[in-house]
Structure formats: structure tokens, C-alpha cells
Symmetry: D2
Subunit: 308 residues, 4 copies
Amino acid sequence: MTDTRDYDALLHQVHQAVLPEIGRGTVANYIPELADVPPDQFGMAVVTLDGKVHTVGHAQTRFSIQSISKLFALVLAFQRQGDALWERVGREPSGTPFNSLVQLESESGKPRNPFINAGALVITDMLCTNFAVPENAVVEFARQLCDSKEIHYDRRVARSERGTSDRNAAMAHFMKNFGNLRNPVDQVLDAYCKHCAIEMSCVELARAVAFLANRGVNPWNGEQVLSASAAKRLSALMLTCGTYDAAGDFAFRVGLPAKSGVGGGIVALVPGECGVCVWSPALEHSGNSHAGLLALELFTTLSGRSIF
Amino acid sequence: MTDTRDYDALLHQVHQAVLPEIGRGTVANYIPELADVPPDQFGMAVVTLDGKVHTVGHAQTRFSIQSISKLFALVLAFQRQGDALWERVGREPSGTPFNSLVQLESESGKPRNPFINAGALVITDMLCTNFAVPENAVVEFARQLCDSKEIHYDRRVARSERGTSDRNAAMAHFMKNFGNLRNPVDQVLDAYCKHCAIEMSCVELARAVAFLANRGVNPWNGEQVLSASAAKRLSALMLTCGTYDAAGDFAFRVGLPAKSGVGGGIVALVPGECGVCVWSPALEHSGNSHAGLLALELFTTLSGRSIF
Amino acid sequence: MTDTRDYDALLHQVHQAVLPEIGRGTVANYIPELADVPPDQFGMAVVTLDGKVHTVGHAQTRFSIQSISKLFALVLAFQRQGDALWERVGREPSGTPFNSLVQLESESGKPRNPFINAGALVITDMLCTNFAVPENAVVEFARQLCDSKEIHYDRRVARSERGTSDRNAAMAHFMKNFGNLRNPVDQVLDAYCKHCAIEMSCVELARAVAFLANRGVNPWNGEQVLSASAAKRLSALMLTCGTYDAAGDFAFRVGLPAKSGVGGGIVALVPGECGVCVWSPALEHSGNSHAGLLALELFTTLSGRSIF
Amino acid sequence: MTDTRDYDALLHQVHQAVLPEIGRGTVANYIPELADVPPDQFGMAVVTLDGKVHTVGHAQTRFSIQSISKLFALVLAFQRQGDALWERVGREPSGTPFNSLVQLESESGKPRNPFINAGALVITDMLCTNFAVPENAVVEFARQLCDSKEIHYDRRVARSERGTSDRNAAMAHFMKNFGNLRNPVDQVLDAYCKHCAIEMSCVELARAVAFLANRGVNPWNGEQVLSASAAKRLSALMLTCGTYDAAGDFAFRVGLPAKSGVGGGIVALVPGECGVCVWSPALEHSGNSHAGLLALELFTTLSGRSIF
């Protein structure tokens, strides 16, 4: 498993194995734009730190990254706020579904971590304070990370999402009630729905997370995005909190830091080696891509590339 | 950081750095035997897979391993039950303190993971089914893992613990009510309190967890304790669930699979490299050793030995 | 509705109206002795303060009073402890099912009221402190209240109940953990299961609660059981907490202080006028007698005897 | 206690007894208009069904009725919706503070009862559907009930309240997410804050609730506001749910159907006899008037006018 041709063979093998599972599960259906995505698609990309790209399936197809944008938002906010960020958001797995209000109530409006919706709203609130047009800041940041100018968010998706965001509005108002939201709820929700509507392909996303596998340095332009220590720490956070209420199971089965989205994408990384992204729109019950999860499990089993 | 002398220097450096913190926090005080342990002790040991032992401080002093025994109990039960074990215990972080009943109530008596008390009681119940004298089975297993005949449990500690186990009794009866306990509650609690009262030193514990860093093979006798895959998976579980309600923070700061106990011990492992154990009796608010946690954080920061 | 013949006519009318509903619902089935009771039985009794007895159906058949015994236990404990009792048990509706542990956890082991199981266990613990054989004290007290020597508890029912009391054991250990249980858990559970197994008929129960309608004075021997004020207050508690998690609905529909049991009995009272008891074994989802609830609702609608 | 002069003497006696307690507690301080009300005020009024008015203290001073308006809103909605109303709001005590979201989450957005904030928001949503200007409908209804044209709501109070309504907004969005709110959240919150800002005096409020003591008939114009049965049932709901999380304690101590507001007012009624209102701005920890609660407790103790 040391020369690059292996990844091509490995991705092919993974693809073949998960073929019967592609399309199983349920496509996110709370907005028409996501509901209409054909479920029988599958793509996967591995981008090594030297820039080699390995793909299988629809790895160039752009999809709605949804919650994966929480990762970009978090890194961007962390660049500005540093560890002060943790005064307003925790670092513990939530133990409850990603959109629960119960924990907020018992913990005085401080979300458990930045990857549950409540936490991502607080992070977005920080971006609203730091940037005039926060969604554009996230888009621009994603562009730099994946070295492509072609990243945009889909205005229709953002608008649809905004129209069905009562639960997020409930959480935002609730946190504002506790003093943990500084900007107007409407403004935070607007920015949040827009950065969740960013569209990227597997290749672009695998490129974009490579800096986390590279001690915080963007391999495409040499910039230090985060310190090596911070990159490791955010990777740890992805492992414990990145896949909704299934993070423990994901760590158990896959063993890689990862972040998933209800658009069916999952990004992951092998420290020191590569960024990975898999996409398949049909979700299992926790909101993670069903075929994507299986593909990543196979990826680590076959390659021995777990971090453990 | 590749030759073994480095570990000696590293442990010395860690020890010096945490000296002012040793004794800060609170020694577990719910039973006299733990309350009477002098808080100003500190030991740390690293045992590499080739058997070299590096120590600092009271690394040969035996202490009550308490919840670290849950790890041995889990591996022993997993050897007998395999993945069927997960039908009765989950693999997710709990999101609530380690001895909470709330989650049991909302999840029909299935504990979130085998490292919270409720989960360890179910694991112990399995051992009660599989072994005539389950506590002896755990002791014997620990002996094999650390290659020492001298491991015992402290009967006075077990008896004291048994006398203050109303909360564990509550959980056990509650799970029995849901059908998730097969043996009499008293028998399960007896075995549980006894294997928690096992006494081991940092050196013995670092030796005992080395098999998890060695693809499941006991380095001291060559036996395959777990499959390589199972060893990785249990390591992942330690990372996400091994340090009570602070697992997310622990992963963030330390970045190693670990298991802690209220006796002040924490075991950890660097995959492919070594077993580690630190001990200092005074605990921070989550029930983990205060100085031990800092020492492990320094250990990974200084050595770059995080898994991320 | 002022002469006594009216009650006979009224009971007849109620009986006719609920006939099609008798047997609907589910007989308590967690112990064989209750599961085997034929569901198609119905009895009702009204005993006015001057001692006149009005009945319909199986009003002389004895049945397992179950949670109705919590009322006798409470009055007996209150006689000894007075208002100090409320330091260990609250007076608020629980808002959660009668056997929930969640509220105990968030409220430090103090049960919400004496009519949920946890509260009745604390009351029974008080009786264990005050009486050598607490179940006999409850039996004797029930005898005095209904003016009959023939009251006993059924040892087989008590034994069966004791064998399936894991949830109650969980609550008892949990409260003991919080310091809110003084006697050994086993002793409290024994006494509790025994006084719940008391057997009485509708006539006996209607007679037994008459003192609450009579300003605290036992109408059959003139003894002041409780002060007038305490009798009113306990009646209020029955209204807000006496019928499990359906107390609000019960107050809304029936409008009388009442206490129900899973044996299918419900006692109620019309202040200044009479004690009432209805019995029919099949229960609705909250654990109250289905036909009994309808009968009481009709009783107040037809008679205008609600307290509101 | 049968001639009307008794009420004058009784009110005087109550007033004297509570004098040292007036001003104890905390005036609601989340908006300046309430925070600025001098705490050392006290008024009480009894209006018998024949129209006789008995008062003591500041019984003619108008104050912000706040949550007492939930009672008027409920009756108004019930007139339109009848029992269909209960499909969207429960009738059980909440068992948790009046503004909790936890219960909403576990019960799919159906509030426990119409007197907690969430329930009152659903009721207000119904009024938004039934009336062009719902707050005016509530004002007009209050005018009819107390037979006065002079009732208004305070626009400044409404505006202030609207500016601090994040928690209510959270609940409204949350219920809308569950489909239990039909109108725009902003519209519902506007109407809610306005009808809570209605100002009335003790005399006016005691007159306004008299119809509930009069079998549903408005004593001042003979109109049937509610059926006799519905009036009794709403009275029962006031008893079990009308005083926030202290309803059980209130029923225990006072024993009358009542509804309180954070403006310091409490309305109550003695069925068949009179409407009652007490007002004193300083609140105990549950949000009920401290001196008002004591006054009502004395009122029933001294008069024997509890319903039990």
C-alpha cells in the first residue's frame, strides 16, 4: 500500500463491493432540491498530499455539501477567535440527535460541539461578527483550501432551506435567550443556510481537507491554515463528533476523522497521507450516507489506513 | 524521537512540568480505602512493543485500577461473545455523566457504551454467565496481559465499594427490569466491585495494554488476544468513550485511545509503538486524574505521538 | 339530588351507560395473580357520611387495591411525621409516568409526590422506621377506616409483586444513594409489596375514604384521623396527583379528588357528602380503570357533584 | 360566613396578616415596565355573584395581567374550537418550569396545557386564525366579562416584552417545526405579547372570572359564556395547571381554581359564590405573587372556602 497505483485499485475494489448498497436508504427530503437528487449515484476521491488524485464513480459531480460546511466555518472562526471559541461551544459528543434542544436547555445555551446544528449556528454567529458577508467568506475559504475558483453556493437550496428552518430558528432564539448569539437570528440563519448550500465535488472536498492531514499546511499553496497542533485537535474533534449521533460507531467501524452532510457527502482524512471524500445521496437513519459509510469502512479495512 | 532513550528523557521532562500540579484536585472519597491514598503521588510508564520499560516517579506502586478493569472485562467478554456483545451494549459516547440513569430510561435499558458503569455492569453480567468466578477470570486475564503472576484484587476495597453501590444497584435493577441483565443483581455487583478492586502498577498496566498497540497480539507471549481489526476497533472505542464525560476533550487534548479510573490511573496506547500508563490520585471534576491528564497531554505534544 | 334514593338510581344509570365499555382495555399483567382477574367485572359503591351504602354490580367483591394503599400509607405516615414529611417528598404532579427515574435524577432523589411509586417508597420507608411490621400497620389502619376486621393482604400477590420489582428496586437504591431512604431496600420493598396487596371491596373502600369528605373525622367511630385542614390538603393532592400521569385529565373530566390502582379500583370523594369507589379491572393506557374512569365521569356529570 | 359583611372583615384580616410579607420576593425584571412597579403594593377584591364588591388595599389599581390573559385567550379559543382544541394542547400539569422546551421535544410539539407559555402560544395561534386582530378580540372579551369599557393593553409593555421574547420565539418555531403553529411566528408573538400586556384592576379581574363560578353564565349580562360543564372543566384545569410549576403546592395550600401572572396578580374563584383577585408585585421563585399566595391561603383557611 505505498505506491499511488494502489489507491486506484483500492477505490475500484471498494466501489465494486458497495455497488449493491448504492441507493439504499433515504435521500434527505425536507427540501425539494435535495429530495430530487437521484439516489443511485456514488463517487469517491483520494487526494494524496503530493497532489495525486484518485477517483472512482461520480467523483467530479458537485453536490450540496451541507453540514460539511460546518468544518470550513469552524476552521475559519478558529483562525479569528482561537481557543476563546471554546468558551461558547463545547468539545464533547452530544449523545443526542444533532438537532436536539434538550441539551441546550440543561447546559445553559452552550452547544456540546461545533458540528451539531446549535454549535454551527454559534460558529456562524462568530463569522457574522467577523465578516461583512460571512457566506462569501466561507466560499472563498473553501476555494483556497481546494485550490479552485469555481466553488459557489446554490441560491435555490439556500432559499428552500431557509424556508424550513424552524427548528434551527428555535435553537438560535433559544441560544440568544441565553446570551450565546450576538447577531440577529435572521442574519445568522441566512448565513448558515447559504454556507450549507455550497456545492463541491468529491475531488474538491478531498483536496480541501488535505491540510488537516498535512499538519495544518495547505499543500496547494504552502499556507499554514492552522498550527500543527490545532490541526490535530480539530481532527480529533471530527472523530468524536463529526458524524452526528453515530460518531462512536463511525470511529469504531471506520477509524478516521470525518465530517458528513445530509447531501450524502463524507470527508475524511488519513493523517500524513491524504484527504478522502465519498458521496452517495441515500442516508442511513443517523443522517450519514449509507453507501458512503460502508465505502469508508472498506477503505480502512482493506488499506489498513485506520489511525488506530 | 525514534530511539528508546528519548522516552526516558521525555518522561523526565513531563514529570518536571507537571510537578506543581500533582496533588491538585480531589482524591475519590466515597470509600475510605481510596480516600486515604496520599494525593501527592505520581508515576508514569511507557512500555514499547519490544518490551523496553521506561518509567518516572511511582511507576512501580500498585494502585486500585477501578474503571480501567472495564477494559479487561470488555476484552474478555468480547473474546466469548464477539459482535453479539453489541446487541446489549452500544458504542456511542454517553453525553451524560458516567453514572446517569436518564439515558437508560430513554433507550430501553441498553447502555450507551461498555465504559460507563451501566455498560460495564452488562459486560460483567456476561462474565457471570461465562465464568464460575468472573472476578478471578478478570484477574487471570490481567496477569496474562501484563505477564505477571502477582496481580490480585483488594478484598477490603471490594467490600467497601460493595457497601456504597446503591447507584450501581439502581442501574442494575433498572436494566434487569428491561431484560438486559441475566444474572442476579447481587452476583453481578459482587463481581463488578471485585474486578474494579484489582491493584496494578503503571508498569504492569502499560504492559497490559500493549497488545492493543500490537494489532491484538500479546507481545509477551505471542498470543492473538483479539484480531487486528477488533484491536483497532476497541482502541477507537477507548478514544470516543474511555474517559467518562470528558472523552471529547481528552481526544482533543491528548489524541490517544485511553481508559481512566477513579483510582487516578489512566492507560493509553500509541498504535504500533507502546503502551502507556500514568497515575496520580487527585482527580479533576470529570473523575480523571488531574496530573495524569496533563502528563498525557504533554506526552503527545512533546513527542508528536498523537494518532492524528 | 338530595335524598338518598337518588344515589341508587344514579348508580344504576351509570352502570347501564358504561356496560358496553366494561372489559375494554388491558388487565395489569405483570404478575399472574392480577393477569388472571376476569376483566368483565364492574362494581361501584357510594357511602354517605351518615353511613348509608349504595351499590351496583360487584361492589362487595374484594380486589387488589394496589396503589390505593399509597393513600392509607400516606395518611398513616402524615399522622406521625406531620409537615416534616414534605421535606422528603414533594407535592407536585410528576409530568412523567409514575415509575420514571428521570425526575429523581434531576431533583436529587426527592420524589415529586407521594402517589408516584418513588414517593410511596419513601412513605413506606417512614413506616418502616415508625412501625415494627409496617404492612400490618397499614392493614390495621385500613380496618379502622372502613370499620371492618376482615381486611388482609394477599401473600401470593405480594410475593409475585416482590419478584418483579426491579424497577421499584432501582428507584429505591437510587433514592438511598441520595440519602432519601433510611431502611434497607429489601425491607422497604417487602413492606411496599405487602401493603399494595391489600384486598378490599368497593363498599369497604368507599367507607374507608369517607373521613376525607368529613373534615378528617372517621364517621364510623368519631376519631379525628387528620385535622380538617390536613384532610382538605390531602384531598387536593389526590386531585392533582392521584391518577398517575392522567391527573390533569381526570380533574378535567371527573373533578373529584381520587386515587386509582392497577387492580382496577378508583376511590374518590365528594367533600361533605360521601366516599365513592368504582372497580373494573381493565385499564386504559395510563393505568387507570377504563370503565371506572367513565363511570366516575358520568357520576359527576349526572349528579353535578364535581367540586368545581 | 353567609352575609356579605363577612368578606369585608375577612379581607381586612387577611391584609393585616400579610402586611409584613408585602414586598418580599422579586418583581419581574425582564422588562423595565414591570421592573419599575413599586413592590410594596397589595390589593384584593371579592365579587360575589350578586354583584357585591369587597375590597382591601390597592384593589382599584390597574396592573399588567400578563399570564392571566391566557385564561381569557383560552376561553375565547374554546368558544370557537370546542373540544377540538385539545388535539393541539394537552390538559396535564407540566412537571417542568413554564417555559421549558424539553417536554415539547419529547411530546412532538404538543404543549402540556394551555397555561404554560408554549400552550398559550398555540391558543394565540388559534385566535390569529379566528380573528383579524386577535389582541383586540381578547381585550373586547375581557371588557364583556368584567362589564367595563375601560380595558386596554399597554403598548409599551407589549413592545418591551416583544423585544425579549427569544425563549417564546424558540418555542414557537419549535412547535411550527412540528406543525402545531399555523400562522407566522412573528404574528403569533405580536398578538401574544399584546394580550399579555392588558391592564386590569383586582376588582375588574374578580368580576371577569365570576362567570366560571356561575356555571358559565356572565352574571353581569346573563350571557352563557361557556356551558356549565365546560366552566367546571376549565376551573379544574386552573386548579391543576394555573400556577406554573407550583400548581400542586397551590392546590394543596389554597384549594381554589386560580391563574397567576408575573405582574403579581392571581385570580381565583369559589364555585357558586364569587370571583377573587389578589395583587402584589413581588414574586416567589415559581413566578407567583408571594404576598398574593399567602393572602389566598389565609382566605381559604379563615373562610373555609376551599373546594375540598
